[in-house]
Symmetry: C2
Subunit: 390 residues, 2 copies
């Protein structure tokens, strides 16, 4: 029996549209085949979201073929047949013997395919950014080195501009983020263990809202007193106390798309310092969002924030955000000074205004937004407050 | 104010013991400084578990210094001061300006440090396996290329053999895995959404057991009918039905250490085919565990399994497991044919007997075990049954 197809996250025509954009870029770069190994680019081009990227796998896109070929481990091939939009004969399984083999790995199977497809004398693009040096050398050794062209982030830049269909999925993810932030305000209490609050928040991120579950769980960061000066700590073994401040970063996720959101909580009345920082950051948030419009640059948005808070005596060292959507951080445009990427409709960003001011004090707020034809559409809708709980 | 130190997962003496092993290996390889960028190796050598590895960060270990230096992004430095065993002056923050900088990145700060420490004419080890080709080239370009030595997996192999203290943490993680597998048997029911069951399972993995919470959430795979031939799919948007089979893979996690566990569930009586496969796989599991003892090889354990099930007419294409502990898959020894790694006391493995037999049919069972002085100690203790639920 063959495995069934999952209900697709997007229609076939949407994947073909994306592939057309990629093939145009391949033509511009004069490459006839593109090997896509970045897992988020694979999700973008096929719908595949299973978590198998810890072993070699790649799409091979030929300029002359409508559908790409997906070469992956035998164990993972049924998931690819189930999830990908392509016909099942476009899924090629390499043998399990290549896993943890002393001399070869899955990239050898991918290079074998390129050779057998008669592409040895053609220009082949690879994504060096996400390949180890040992793998990149293998491509150059086994193919004609001068024909192996670095196409790092070629697909990644294309997916920065979302379609309306992608925006709808991100809006579903954002609704889950909103619900999880609201749930945190219900479960964070003095005397509650951080882990128990996190379990409740995770539950919302998985169950989802409006009949649409989350389809994976992204990282949750809960940085509570005395850790508000830190970020990226999932949670600690502590119990919340009266006077604790809690900084939360999370993201709902649907079909590989996420929408991140950060809010700050206080058990009891916030300190004067926290209240003052919040007020200033809110002004900066408004200024940044007001600067979003087609034609403005990422630098313009960041500097609108920086200028506003600096007038009020506050600084933020880190960037104000980054391209966001498939996976958490899309490694292309950044909302930072001197990033001259020009905003275009349906680019999506996490406006990340977390500000770790001292070692022992930080504050977080953020929104996920898209650029519209005339300005900005904020996908996340949680109240922009310090959530005061008891 | 300076940030406090978290209660350490291990005493200082344990980290110094690990560093002594690493320095011996450095001497054997004749390198005077080792740059450790693999996030799990960083956890092993410092106690740092925050999730910041998506940007450059590395330890620099000098043969002549007791403590390593940890160089990471300014934003993440307070978390390192909080979690690492080292004195705070061993945490070096590089400026946020290097994030998404067009020409430089955090590795430039790491190389600056190596240069400023007067090591330019010394032999420097790097972990090429986990570095992109662009980064490896930067090390060779900015340092003396002939002095840059690939030390891929040098630390990874050392951490394959756990201390008794590490085993105790893994036992705590295994108890969480056991509880989550038991919880799944309570919540998987006909008519229940996969996401709702997953939320309950995740809750146990986060809350933990015996007063010891999980300290992060590892991936959960729930591959239910019609997806039992797949693996690595988190869960689907479906609802369980009468007759569904559900394959679950999960892992409790404590302080960076996990203990994976897989079990199969059936809503209603299992099919004859499933029951037969289960019986054969159990025989194979017993045979594999019986083969575990110091002096035996990974290949011996795997072949004990393969031979047993093949006598009963079943095959498994994939390896039987892998080194396991910090992070899910430790990329060193594999329980596969012809892996001649010799078992030693306190090596830990995930005996992963998931068997994806056809596109639309697979079965899973696994255990996390350690090698003892005389045989095997299975850390996970869930019943070895097909969990039949209604």
């Amino acid at each position: 029996m063959t495995i069934s197809k999952a209900p697709p996250a997007f229609p076939r025509s949407e994947y073909l549209r994306r592939l057309t954009l990629v093939k145009s870029e391949m033509a511009r770069r004069d490459v006839e085949a593109l090997v896509v190994s970045d897992q988020h680019n694979i999700t973008y081009l096929t719908g595949y979201t299973a978590r198998s990227a810890y072993v070699p796998q790649a799409l091979v896109i030929l300029a002359t073929e409508e559908e790409p070929v997906f070469i992956l481990r035998r164990m993972d091939a049924p998931a690819a047949m189930h999830q990908c939009f392509m016909e099942r004969d476009k899924i090629i399984a390499y043998p399990e013997e290549l896993i943890a083999h002393p001399d070869k790995d899955g990239y050898d199977a991918i290079i074998d395919y390129v050779q057998e497809a008669g592409l040895t004398d053609k220009r082949i693009g690879i994504e060096e950014f996400s390949l180890s040096t040992l793998t990149a050398e293998k491509f150059k050794r086994r193919l004609e080195a001068s024909n192996v062209v670095d196409c790092t982030k070629a697909v990644t830049w294309i997916r920065l501009i979302k379609s309306d269909l992608e925006i709808e999925i991100m809006r579903e993810a954002a609704a889950i983020s909103d619900a999880a932030i609201a749930r945190a305000a219900e479960v964070i209490r003095s005397g509650v263990r951080e882990a128990d609050a996190c379990a409740e928040i995770a539950s919302v991120l998985i169950r989802g809202v409006n009949g649409k579950p989350g389809t994976r769980l992204e990282e949750i960061a809960i940085c509570a007193t005395p850790r508000t000066g830190t970020c990226h700590i999932p949670w600690a073994e502590d119990t919340f106390r009266q006077g604790s401040q809690i900084n939360i970063e999370l993201a709902g996720s649907r079909h590989g798309y996420c929408a991140a959101l950060m809010r700050t909580y206080s058990i009891g009345a916030p300190s004067d310092r926290l209240r003052r920082v919040h007020d200033i950051q809110l002004e900066g948030l408004d200024a940044a969002l007001s600067a979003v419009q087609p034609g403005a640059t990422c630098s313009d948005v960041a500097n609108a924030f920086y200028r506003t808070i600096e007038k009020r005596g506050l600084k933020k060292e880190s960037r104000c955000g980054y391209a966001h959507g498939i996976g958490w951080t899309e490694p292309t445009a950044s909302l930072r000074d001197s990033d001259m990427t020009v905003l275009q409709p349906n680019m999506t960003f996490h406006l990340m205004l977390g500000n770790w001011i001292d070692e022992e004090f930080g504050y977080v707020i953020s929104e996920t937004f898209r650029v519209t034809r005339t300005g900005v559409d904020v996908l996340t809708t949680a109240p922009r407050v310090i959530f005061q709980v008891s």
